[in-house]
């Protein structure tokens, strides 16, 4: 099985022989079938594969939304696969940032309030979270839209709010699920630009996509098929990424 290089950087995520089973009627579906994976700090990864190949399941497991049926998942050295529900919630809130295809903003909250949600559950004080949220809104270029509701924003702007929200608790890993899938190429490009910048700042990003173009953009590409990793390759950084 192909493996990425022996990076000197610290390991953030380690999956050992992870399997995820679903009971479909009377036959057992192995959505993930023996995944072994190490993700290092600062990695910028695209996960590709045909639909039904296990991408979403892998993302759910990596995002601690779901637990593996078999195997061990270490996040920053902690065994997530044995944690209880409350601890998983804490891990999601503090160490993971999510970006979804359909943005998943809370419609009743404005831009700032949406960014504040993860900090609210982490227990950050009102003053601090206001400050951080305002800063992040500026960071994604929505400083002038802080009190707008999601319905008053374009898709690209909504996704930028989602990015700001994912950054709110300074997570170890940012997980993006088809983050540009609902956007036109211009807005999608803007979003990817932000991702590149974040990675350049040292953030670890994992993107799930079926867009082959993405594979050229990220230095590490993982391809899934039938619940198994078929390709895990690391390429030379492209000059476009390095310019920021």
């Amino acid at each position: 099985m192909p493996d990425a290089d022996h990076s000197p950087k610290p390991t953030i995520i380690e999956l050992r022989d992870v399997e995820k089973h679903y009971q479909m009627g009377d036959h057992l579906l192995k959505a993930l079938n023996g995944i072994n994976l190490k993700i290092y700090a600062g990695d910028y990864i695209s996960i590709l594969g045909p639909s039904g190949g296990g991408k979403s399941t892998l993302l759910n497991v990596l995002g601690c939304l779901d637990q593996p049926t078999v195997g061990t998942y270490l996040l920053e050295g902690h065994d997530v696969s044995v944690m209880n529900d409350d601890d998983l919630s804490r891990v999601r809130g503090k160490r993971l940032g999510f970006i979804f295809q359909s943005y998943n903003l809370i419609q009743s909250l404005d831009v700032l309030e949406n960014i504040e949600v993860p900090m609210f559950y982490r227990g950050v004080s009102e003053k601090d979270s206001r400050e951080v949220a305002a800063h992040l809104a500026e960071r994604v270029g929505l400083g002038h839209r802080m009190h707008h509701k999601p319905t008053e924003l374009s898709g690209g702007q909504q996704q930028r709010v989602a990015i700001a929200r994912a950054l709110a608790n300074d997570p170890a890993v940012i997980l993006a699920d088809e983050a540009t899938g609902n956007l036109d190429s211009k807005s999608g490009g803007d979003i990817l630009q932000i991702f590149d910048e974040l990675n350049a700042e040292g953030k670890t990003l994992i993107m799930i996509t079926h867009d082959e173009g993405m594979a050229d953009r990220t230095p590490r590409v993982i391809r899934l098929k039938d619940g198994q990793i078929v390709v895990d390759e690391r390429k030379e950084l492209k000059p476009t990424v390095a310019t920021t």
Binding site: L75, Q107, Y121
Partner: protein, 446 residues
């Protein structure tokens, strides 16, 4: 990277005031976003709370009035009254006579005073019914012959002038005191004090006005709190010293009514017996009853014990409150079910939001808290509106129906607390259901 921070329960958990404040704010916001629906949802609670408070207020008002009337009779008093026996029973037993003789006698009074322990003061009174005249103005009224301490015994205030004194009784001065009602009828324009009125051939100088009192001895069988209907002519009373009444109208009372002629001989129409302490009232009443039973071979008297009436009124009120309580409980439960129903729909509607919040770090308890707060706010706001209406409605009733209503501070307090409690009870299940959803499923929900 600070791994120890991943699971550090100390820093985050627990309900800091600002988290609570924020959750409540969020709850308000979500209620405000669905104004009409929230209002309709809370309507059950609104009406429940409103009806509890206003029904209690009306009930309290009515029973207060009844109790006040009974208290005016005096809780240490026993009231004996003469009752005209029905004709059928008299026909056989009584030797045929033109004069019908019945009721309490001076002999009864003497025996009661001498043999019943604890009897303190006795107020006898005699009545003559006839027209009272002032110039050309006449009113069908009752002359009541009594003693000078009558007002004190029966808790009746003198509104103007004074009551007659003991000396006036001994001297048989022809003085009288009118009830407010009679005074108003007889002297619509000026004060009656100092004027002279006539009954039959006797003239009386008016020296005072006494306050009206509903005859609470009539409550007895009716049992209904405050259900006293004043018949015409009732309350039209003229008080004179008992000695004066005897002097002027004699022992036998004649009645001429529409062609027929009736003569009655009644010693005393009413006797009020005061017992030293309220504890002895029931025993004394029993002793009096025994004496009267021996002296009278027919039921031509009536014994009223205000204390017993009071206790009965109290019991009636208790039953009334229990019935009211059950109705209120049912309406509030119905309101609660309405809220639960809507909250379950809301949970389904907001499945995706729940999924998002779970992905962003909300624990199950955070979700439970959020929905519970929303339900409690909903029922609490409903309760507040209900309290407002519940306080206003009795005022309106008092104003238009001239019914006394009383709102004790505990009625709105309890009604409001129950509405909040309903929020907790009926909010728990939808909240738990919201929290039980798996984050993955919830995020996938459209």
């Amino acid at each position: 990277m600070r791994p120890e921070e991943i699971i550090d329960p100390r820093r985050l958990r627990g309900l800091s005031p600002w988290r609570l404040k924020r959750s409540i704010f969020l709850g308000f916001k979500s209620i405000w976003m669905r104004k009409l629906r929230s209002l309709l949802t809370a309507l059950g609670i609104v009406f429940g709370v409103c009806s509890v408070i206003s029904m209690l207020a009306i009930g309290e008002g009515a029973s207060y009035e009844a109790q006040q009337q009974i208290k005016d009779l005096g809780s240490q008093n026993i009231i004996l009254q003469s009752v005209k026996p029905s004709n059928t029973s008299t026909a056989g037993e009584q030797t045929r006579s033109l004069v019908l003789e019945y009721g309490l006698t001076y002999r009864d009074l003497g025996q009661i005073q001498q043999t019943v322990p604890g009897v303190n003061v006795v107020v006898p009174n005699r009545r003559v019914k006839d027209f009272v005249w002032f110039r050309s103005n006449s009113v069908d009224a009752t002359a009541v012959g009594t003693v000078s301490w009558y007002p004190k015994m029966r808790n009746r205030d003198i509104v103007a002038g004074r009551f007659f004194s003991e000396i006036e009784g001994i001297r048989t001065d022809p003085v009288c005191i009118l009830t407010e009602k009679l005074a108003k009828q007889l002297f619509p324009l000026h004060s009656p004090v100092g004027k002279t009125v006539r009954m039959r051939t006797s003239y009386f100088r008016v020296i005072g006005i006494i306050e009206d009192q509903v005859d609470a001895t009539q409550i007895e069988e009716g049992g209904g709190a405050g259900a006293i209907e004043a018949s015409s002519g009732e309350g039209m009373e003229m008080f004179v010293p008992i000695s004066v009444l005897k002097d002027h109208f004699g022992e036998v009372l004649f009645k001429y009514r529409s062609g027929s002629f009736e003569a009655e001989k009644v010693d005393l129409h009413e006797v009020t017996v005061q017992v030293e302490s309220p504890d002895d009232v029931v025993a004394a009443a029993k002793a009096i009853q025994t004496i009267l039973e021996k002296n009278h071979n027919k039921q031509d008297y009536k014994v009223t014990v205000p204390l017993e009436l009071l206790q009965r009124a109290e019991r009636t009120k208790q039953i009334f409150n229990i019935v009211l309580g059950s109705i209120a409980a049912i309406s509030l439960i119905v309101g609660g079910i309405g809220i639960m129903n809507i909250m379950l729909a809301t949970v389904t509607e907001r499945t995706r939001e729940i999924g998002i919040r779970r992905a962003l770090g909300a624990r199950k308890n955070d979700i439970v808290l959020q929905f519970l707060i929303e339900t409690i706010l909903l029922s609490g706001i409903g309760g507040l509106i209900g309290v407002g209406l519940g306080i206003a409605v009795p005022q309106v009733i008092s104003h238009f129906a001239e019914m006394k209503t009383i709102i004790h501070i505990w009625a709105p307090t309890i009604a409001f607390s129950i509405s909040v409690l309903i929020g907790v009870v009926f909010g728990i299940y939808p909240a738990l259901r919201a929290a039980a959803m798996s984050p993955v499923e919830a995020l996938r929900h459209e």
